[in-house]
């Protein structure tokens, strides 16, 4: 593989020699990398909220948050302090255990996926052989806290929201998985790092195999938008209909965990999409690998999600289902078939 040639760009090699002892120990390595990745994703998510609000302000010819700190940069901190200081109200009719359980569950399932997201060749917590499966399994599990929150709140609007969320989540899981299978079929590995390395050698999967790659990326991106409940697929939240979706009865930081994890989850799906289809930490044409490429691609996809959010209106729930079952599922199946045929006839590594 290309590890040796990339040595000068790798994170560990850039550290002062000798390499700190802690990084050579598996647990120590996990702790350090976990801290780095977690901090990176949490900070980016927090300030992406600031960025999104400023960006939306520009789009709508208004100002956006600009008061707290220079250009409003301290707004996320102010928001967090405000949420932390608020009382966590539990409605009297709610199922208290489940009500309290849901936000931490959301956080846990979201952050668990970070374990296998590689930011570069060696800037990752663990290189699992089933990394992709791990990510998709945990993001699929995210349905449960949403469902539990909606049910436990004992509110009709949250019930609607959780019902919609479950229907949407189950439906969009299918095209998401099928489109994620495209790189797996082509590369012959479930390890995200392997998939990225393959792209370093053979070019981005977005471009080659042309048909399944591009279409698979599109379907993957759309389905992850739906999984993350972003506009135009945010029918479970649907402020104008369901007030605030499953979070109607939540307050304080209990509420704050939901939007926070939503942003982290969106960021993770952007990172996953760039790792699976856009060459991960490799630049175009495979040169100059490095963490900046991965971060840049992730943030670009993240930005596209914001862009879509502030330009589109939302689907109705049945239109959402129709889009999934009539278009995305057959097309994603077609992608898998196309990728398989490509592997057999054109030349895969399997």
């Amino acid at each position: 593989m290309t590890v040796a040639s990339n040595a000068s760009n790798s994170f560990i090699m850039s550290l002062p020699s000798p390499v700190p002892e802690i990084l050579t120990h598996p647990v120590g390595h996990g702790l350090v990398m976990g801290t780095i990745i977690l901090t990176f994703f949490m900070l980016i998510s927090a300030w992406s909220i600031w960025f999104e609000r400023r960006f939306a302000g520009r789009m709508q010819s208004r100002v956006g948050p600009n008061v707290v700190g220079p250009a409003g940069l301290l707004q996320p901190i102010a928001d967090a302090i405000k949420l932390l200081r608020k009382e966590n109200l539990v409605p009297s009719g709610a199922d208290k255990v489940l009500f309290w359980l849901s936000p931490p569950m959301t956080l846990f399932f979201t952050l668990a996926t970070l374990a296998v997201i590689p930011l570069s060749e060696d800037l990752l917590v663990a290189e699992l052989d089933i990394g992709l499966l791990w990510v998709l399994a945990f993001s699929g599990l995210l349905l449960f806290p949403t469902w539990i929150a909606g049910w436990a709140s004992n509110n009709k609007y949250t019930l609607f929201a959780s019902m919609r969320a479950v229907a949407q989540g189950i439906s969009y899981e299918i095209p998401l998985l099928f489109s994620a299978i495209v790189p797996v079929v082509v590369v012959g590995s479930l390890s995200i790092s392997d998939i990225v390395r393959y792209q370093g050698e053979h070019g981005w999967l977005l471009f080659w195999p042309l048909g399944p790659g591009a279409l698979g990326f599109l379907i993957f991106f759309v389905a992850s938008l739906a999984e993350a409940n972003r506009i135009p697929f945010d029918v479970p939240e649907a402020e104008s209909e369901l007030v605030a979706g499953v979070t109607v009865e939540y307050s304080g930081m209990m509420y704050g965990l939901f939007p926070m994890t939503e942003y982290v989850h969106t960021l993770i799906t952007s990172a996953l999409a760039s790792a699976l289809f856009l060459g991960g930490w490799y630049g175009p044409f495979g040169w100059a690998p490095g963490v900046h490429w991965m971060v840049g691609k992730t943030l670009f996809l993240f930005f596209v999600i914001f862009w879509a959010r502030w330009s589109l209106v939302r689907f109705r729930s049945d239109q959402l289902m129709r889009l999934c079952w009539v278009w995305l599922v057959p097309l994603s199946l077609l992608c898998v078939c196309g990728a398989a045929l490509w592997v057999v006839y054109v030349g895969g590594v399997a």
Partner: protein
Amino acid sequence: MSTDHASTHVVTPWTALTPPPRVDPYVDLSEFEADGDLMVLNLGPQHPSTHGVFRIKLVLDGEVIVKAVGYPGYLHRGVEKLCEKLTFANITPILDKNDYLAPMTSEQCFNMALEKIAGVEVPRRGRWIRTLLAELQRIASHLIAIGTFAMDIGGAIGGGTNLFMWTFRERELILNAFEELTGSRFHYNTSCFGGQRHDLPAGWDLGVIKALDQIERRMVEYADFGTANPIFVNRCRGIGVLGRDLALELGLSGPLGRASGIDHDLRRDAPYHCYDELQINVPVLTAGDCEARYDIRVQEVRESIRLSRQLLAGVPEGPICSEKPNIGPTSVRVKGAPAYVAIEGPRGELGTFLIPTDKGTQPYRMKIRPPSLHAVAVVEHLLPGNNLSDAVAILGSLDPIMGEVDR
């Protein structure tokens, strides 16, 4: 207070009266109740989509509405009763708060009723200014209707607010012009008995023409967001189809009626102000769905911009207010037969029925016919059979103003 009044006067309870024949909006619920799988959801009075405080009691089968009952009245201030205690000159600012998105037409309508009773002729310049202000107000009001409809479809945090903020931005231009004219952005109190209170300042028309140009230019962007966006179109095409017959029976007028094929516009059919001197093109659509109700407002804004330009070009000279039968600095004496005056407000036929007291200083009885009241009556007929999301879209397309529904 005498107690024998109640014993001599027998009041028939309204429940005992035979209801007039009507289109039955209700579905037979017995088949659903057997399963017990219906859910009652109170949409409102505090709900983001209700445009104020309007409560709809929805009976839902899953997400499909099987029955809807509207409950207006949460914003009832007793305006009509209050006006009976006020002198005529004091009423105009109260009526500004009725239809809070189109105060100009509210106050014009009342003063026209007063003028009709007294037989006072408003000078041509005064009428001309009223026409101009009514058209500008129609633009401002329709812009809000377009924006809030998009917000109902698109969500308060997301793409829907785009159009919402844009329409507010354009409306600001008109409010700025109104502020320059009247000193107030919202509660103008510029129409008075006999004419107008404020004359057009020098150079005002240039600013308004500039604003109109800007609005017309920016409205091109609305199409990119709205009718050119397939998601937007899918959300409103064929949704909440309001037939012509039902619209007629419910007394719908204005954009709602014209979107359902009722070719009726008081500006053209019963001209008031200076409308008889203008050539008015009345857009009429027959689809009657949410898209038609959105489209008709966009077209009416274009038409109003055209009319406003025409009006600005030819403002006649002369007084803006006629001689009034004053009996004091703030009070007038108006005696005569009761009168009903209807004008074409932004939401439809806005009427005022007025009976002055014998002294002629205040109303004995005043009744306002608000177009929005008829609009919210549609809810019971249109919502059943639709999705909950469509309910929000339909309500948004009706653009009811609770201030004038409840008064």
